[in-house]
């Protein structure tokens, strides 16, 4: 059977300016800018678009007078990319554009950002927010495997240093950081210090997917979807984030959410973790890097901390991670954009066009979204070779 995405390619990617705040902008207009930028990057015209995907799909159609076109409305990064890919694989569309953006949402600065504060009756009264939810997972791992605060801090320092050298990152030039610097920042939700948490910013981005036939005629090197899948254990920020929560038949605890999805991706791609050249891991909190290294099989359970200590996730390591600075340093606009930006960076790595932290000869990129504290993880494998 041919690969389901053999005839689908990612042909364009784009990030708008990213900043702590973008005066006068809103989320929808940034999504339009992201979509149009991705079309330009692909060398395609608005008239070519017959499909739109993402949270603001309908706004984008109106905002750029596209269409009429097909649309999918997923609000999450990797699922949006897979929706767009399926629109092409099913023959529904030939050119699908994705746009996302976030701005003008975080205005009450005495509280944490609105998207970090769950309103559910079972958790809100206990002052939960994303950092605290994810800390409850990290604590169990530290208790069970002896993972240390220094190992967590080193993961954060590595990613923030990738942002430090990236002129497009919101926190460009803010480093370099050592693990000790990270541990000296103020505590937010133990074990997470401020510099172990994602930051907040504003910005937009976009991607364009098209048929293999059209992509092979365009100027840029097509990037291919080798596998995609996602796992969830239930509603985020409603039930407690219990490391040992399991599904009906599951031997995988919720702490390793994404393991099943990664296995599905590797099986579809005919690859193994050893084939991954670069890991564009979602990095909401430092611990999530350690957890993911273990969950996807890059090392054994409990070995993620020592893996980081050995220098494997830094530039030149065996598994360079989150090479633009991620949500800690590159950008975190709060809705869908920062999730799609993992995929965009993976595309840039496989194209070989990153201006900083390019992994030489990167052929396979693993991109992820979500995290244990939210009880979901989505995984995407990208490659330079048509599946």
């Amino acid at each position: 059977m041919p690969h389901p995405f053999r005839d689908v390619a990612i042909a364009g990617v784009f990030n708008t300016e990213q900043a702590r705040t973008l005066e006068g902008r809103d989320s929808q207009s940034l999504a339009v800018d992201g979509a149009l930028g991705a079309l330009a990057d692909a060398g395609l015209r608005i008239e070519d678009v017959d499909g739109v995907a993402g949270q603001f799909a309908a706004d984008m159609v109106l905002g750029a007078r596209m269409g009429p076109c097909s649309r999918k409305l997923s609000a999450h990064g990797i699922p949006t990319v897979l929706e767009a890919a399926s629109m092409i694989a099913f023959g529904e569309c030939e050119v699908v554009v994705i746009g996302a953006g976030g701005a003008a949402m975080y205005t009450e600065r005495s509280a944490t950002a609105p998207w970090t504060r769950p309103a559910n009756e079972l958790v809100v009264g206990f002052g939960l927010f994303t950092a605290a939810e994810f800390a409850l997972m990290a604590r169990r791992h530290m208790l069970q495997y002896g993972t240390t605060a220094e190992q967590l801090a080193l993961a954060a320092a590595t990613i923030r240093n990738n942002g430090h050298v990236n002129p497009e990152a919101v926190y460009y030039g803010r480093g370099p950081f050592t693990a000790a610097d990270i541990l000296e920042s103020r505590m937010v939700a133990d074990p997470f210090h401020l510099l172990e948490c994602s930051m907040t910013s504003e910005g937009g981005c976009g991607l364009v997917l098209t048929t293999a036939e059209r992509a092979l005629d365009l100027a840029s090197k097509p990037v291919w979807i080798l596998g995609g899948a996602g796992d969830t254990y239930g509603p985020a920020y409603v039930i407690p984030p219990v490391w040992d929560l399991r599904g009906r038949d599951g031997d995988i605890p919720a702490g390793y959410v994404g393991r099943r999805a990664a296995r599905t991706c590797f099986a579809l791609a005919g690859l193994s973790p050893a084939d991954v050249d670069v890991a564009e891991f979602y990095d909401p909190f430092s611990f999530e890097i350690i957890r993911q290294i273990e969950a996807y099989g890059f090392c054994g359970e409990g070995e993620g901390g020592p893996f980081v200590e050995a220098g494997h996730i830094g530039p030149g390591g065996q598994l360079p991670v989150t090479t633009d600075g991620g949500t800690m340093s590159y950008s975190h606009a709060g809705l869908n954009a920062q999730m799609l930006q993992r995929v965009i960076r993976g595309v840039q790595q496989v194209r070989g066009t990153c201006t900083t932290s390019q992994v030489p000869g990167a052929e396979v990129a693993m991109c992820t979204n979500g995290g244990s504290g939210a009880l979901f993880t989505d995984v995407l494998l990208l490659g330079g070779e048509r599946p």
Binding site: S110, A111, R117, L122, F126
Partner: protein
């Protein structure tokens, strides 16, 4: 030394769902309630209308003894909303009846929290309608 205390009345508490109203009524009466399936006897993790284990539609509210162990916790120093007083310690409690509950620890210093420490429930009002179940060292 910083003692952990219940939050003052006036913190955000969220809208009560109809499915969870018996739970909140229990809290107002000083008892911790949970749902058990009358058919398969499994405990339901979140107030619901049908059993997540067998699909049965008869979920019975039972009274927990309110005793369990500290499964995981964090100590928060940057409050999610300015009405919360720091530090506070959100925690997952593993109840003796076999279910996990989100709560917060009170009645001890934040440095004294230990994995698996025995805890017992106590109730404190958070608003006119909402009484929250906190846990303290047993």
């Amino acid at each position: 030394m910083t003692a952990l205390s219940p939050q003052p009345v006036g913190i955000p508490t969220g809208a009560h769902s109809a499915a969870a109203e018996p739970y909140w009524e229990g809290c107002r009466q000083g008892e911790l309630r949970y749902q058990r399936c009358a058919e398969c006897r499994e405990v339901n993790m979140k107030p619901a209308r049908s059993c997540g284990s067998c699909g049965g539609s008869t979920l019975v509210w039972e009274r927990s003894e309110g005793r369990g162990r500290l499964y995981s916790w964090t100590v928060v120093w940057r409050p999610q909303h300015p009405t919360f007083q720091v530090p506070y310690a959100p925690a997952i409690i593993e109840l003796d009846e076999g279910f996990w509950l989100m709560s917060a620890i009170v009645g001890c210093d934040h440095q004294d929290l230990r994995a698996e420490m025995p805890v017992v429930v106590e109730f404190h009002p958070a608003s006119d309608e909402t009484v929250l179940p906190y846990f303290r060292p047993a």
